[in-house]
C-alpha cells in the first residue's frame, strides 16, 4: 500500500496499512448499514405515500377538504359533526 508524502510516493508502514484496512472495513460496514437504513426509510416513505393517497381519495369521496382528515385527532368532534350533518350517521 502506497502513500504520497510531500510529493514522494512511499510505502505505508505495516502499522499504517493495518490501520487503513481496519478503517476501510469499518467504513464498509457503516456504508452497508447506511444503505439499509435508506432502503427502510424509502419503504416507509412509500407506505406513507400510499396512506396519504388513500386519505386524499377518501376526502374526495366524502366531498370534504383533505385537511379535515389530515388534522383529525382522536376525540376531535369536528369531522364527525360534518359527516353527521351530511349523512345523518
Amino acid at each position: 500500500m502506497k502513500k504520497i508524502v510531500n510529493g514522494i510516493e512511499v510505502d505505508c508502514s505495516p502499522e499504517e496499512e493495518a490501520f487503513i484496512l481496519a478503517e476501510r472495513k469499518k467504513a464498509k460496514e457503516e456504508q452497508t448499514a447506511f444503505e439499509a437504513k435508506l432502503n427502510d426509510r424509502k419503504e416507509k416513505s412509500d407506505l406513507v405515500g400510499d396512506h396519504l393517497q388513500f386519505l386524499t381519495n377518501l376526502a374526495g369521496f366524502l366531498e370534504i377538504p383533505p385537511e379535515q382528515i389530515r388534522d383529525w385527532k382522536p376525540g376531535d368532534p369536528t369531522l364527525k359533526s360534518i359527516l353527521d350533518g351530511r349523512y345523518s350517521l
Binding site: M1, K2, I4, V5, G7, E9, C12, E17, Q31, F34
Partner: protein, 219 residues
C-alpha cells in the same frame, strides 16, 4: 549614430542627479526597479515570486492510500489546498492533522468537529458532527456523486497553539447538467501546533487526483 556602437545592448542612459550614467541591462526575466543605493537610482533585479501567496507543492496522486504534507511552519499564517478529483467518482475526502510532523495523525473518535451544507439543484442538506475521527467534506451519500470534483480548502494558523480551523468550498457534478455545491467549516478539537496534514478517502478506494498546496505568507 555610430556612437551607439560603443554602448552595450539594452543599456539605458539615466541621471545621477549631476551626470548622465549608463544603466546596464540585467539578466533575462529581471525587471528595472528604483534603487536609491545606485548612482543611476535604478537597478535590475529578480522580482520575488507571487507576493504573499506561494505555490509550495503539486502532487498528482494515482491510486494511493493517502496524500500527506508535512513541515507546515509559522512562515505561513494560512495554507490553502486545491484538490481536483480525477477519478471516476468522488468519494468522501477526509482531513486529519498531526502534531509530530506526520509520524502519526490524530484519528480519535472525538478529535474533530465539522458542519457543512450541501446545496443541490432544488434543495440543501446540512451534514455535521461534533465528534469525528476526521473532518469530512461531503455528505454520507457522496459516493454516489460523479467525478470532476474540485475543492478549495483553507487551513488557518496551523502553527499557533489554538484549535486549528479549516474552511472549504467544493463542487461535484450530480449529472452532466446538475450541480452540487458544498461548503463548511471544521476544526481539530485540541489547541495544538499542527505541522502536518493528511488526506484520505473514508471508503475503501484510493485517491486519484491532483493536490496543490499553497502558503499564505505571515508577513
Amino acid at each position: 549614430m555610430s556612437y551607439l556602437g560603443k554602448i552595450s545592448k539594452g543599456s539605458l542612459y539615466t541621471s545621477s542627479g549631476s551626470n548622465y550614467v549608463e544603466q546596464s541591462v540585467g539578466t533575462n526575466d529581471q525587471a528595472l526597479v528604483a534603487d536609491s543605493a545606485q548612482s543611476s537610482g535604478l537597478n535590475y533585479s529578480t522580482l520575488s515570486g507571487g507576493g504573499s501567496y506561494e505555490l509550495i507543492s503539486t502532487v498528482t496522486a494515482s491510486g494511493v492510500a493517502s496524500v500527506e504534507f508535512t513541515d507546515l511552519t509559522s512562515a505561513y499564517s494560512a495554507y490553502e489546498v486545491w484538490f481536483q478529483n480525477t477519478g471516476s467518482a468522488s468519494p468522501r475526502l477526509r482531513l486529519r492533522t498531526s502534531t509530530n510532523n506526520g509520524s502519526s495523525y490524530d484519528s480519535g473518535a472525538s478529535d474533530y468537529a465539522y458542519v457543512g451544507n450541501h446545496i443541490l439543484q432544488s434543495s440543501s442538506r446540512v451534514f455535521a458532527s461534533t465528534g469525528a475521527s476526521g473532518i469530512i467534506f461531503s455528505l454520507a451519500d457522496g459516493s454516489a456523486l460523479l467525478g470532476q470534483g474540485e475543492m478549495r480548502l483553507t487551513i488557518f494558523r496551523p502553527s499557533d497553539t489554538v484549535y486549528t480551523t479549516v474552511f472549504w468550498n467544493s463542487k461535484f457534478w450530480l449529472s452532466t447538467i446538475a450541480n452540487s455545491y458544498m461548503m463548511g467549516v471544521g476544526r481539530r478539537l485540541s489547541a495544538a501546533d499542527v505541522d502536518a496534514i493528511q488526506f484520505t478517502y473514508t471508503d475503501a478506494s484510493n485517491i486519484t487526483g491532483i493536490f496543490k498546496l499553497y502558503g499564505v505568507s505571515a508577513s
